[in-house]
Symmetry: C2
Subunit: 157 residues, 2 copies
């Protein structure tokens, strides 16, 4: 079974990396200001992660990078794209002006929720085939494996 998992994990990783199903764009545009998503908009998993991370309130670029397990430049890039599309805004932390605080742009909270909803729907469809215990076990295993392969988001180093 272990081999099966090793074989399956990268498959999941690749599926996950694919641009989120096209219907998403339409669904988002429907509820967003026209300028927010120009013709070429497409949302990557990283962008969704940023939006989820922001759901708990504004946070710094560095914190985003740490949460997502990527380098700071990568986080900067994600924030760049999202802010180009008007989804989020940067502002300086008044207490430490080196820090750039990232937060939803006004009115975008709702749109963000819808974007996250797409992935959540997919995931729920899969989780529904599992019992509650299995779902919890899956989550537990996911955390363990992520930790085993690298660092876990919440953990300090």
């Amino acid at each position: 079974m272990v081999d099966e998992i090793v074989l399956l994990l990268p498959v999941l990783g690749r599926e996950l990396g694919r641009p989120v199903p096209l219907e998403l764009e339409a669904s988002v545009k429907a509820g967003a200001p026209a300028h927010a998503f120009p013709s070429d908009a497409h949302v990557s998993p990283g962008h969704i992660q940023v939006l989820i991370a922001l759901a708990k309130g504004p946070c710094s670029v560095g914190h985003i990078a740490h949460t997502l397990g990527v380098s700071r430049p990568a986080a900067t890039q994600l924030v760049d794209r999202l802010s180009e599309h008007g989804m989020i805004e940067r502002r300086h932390d008044p207490e430490d002006r080196r820090v750039v605080l990232v937060d939803y742009a006004p009115g975008m909270h709702e749109v963000a929720r819808r974007i996250m909803g797409v992935r959540r729907t997919q995931l729920n469809a899969a989780l529904d085939t599992l019992t509650d215990e299995e779902a919890v076990a899956f989550y537990k295993g996911l955390k363990e494996i992520t930790a085993a392969l690298g660092r876990v988001p919440g953990e300090e180093n």
Copy 2:
């Protein structure tokens, strides 16, 4: 919890995508002919997947692509690299000469097992913290989610 999973999955994907810990190269070289892994060798998750897929016997490039969930050119590329390093060999299927059958190169079966062992070790460390039921549930959830992401829910192109 669903959001947590959505947040965690891409992290896992990225960790998974990182070049396998460097110790691997050394460990592999130790048991492999010198020419097999020249100075710049590095093994990606895709390569490991190919080696695992071959454990069940020779198979075609197309089959590898399907198993890994990638395009055929991508599979070709993976096979290219592995065969450059002498890990695997191509030969034509006598029954259908369009088909290219891929298999371990002579004596490489053992080396392949060692390479796979690295990932397996990491994974086992994580799975050991789970009960048997949880491990099975994780595997089940993994399959379900991979399947769920594989096709767009409710949309056929």
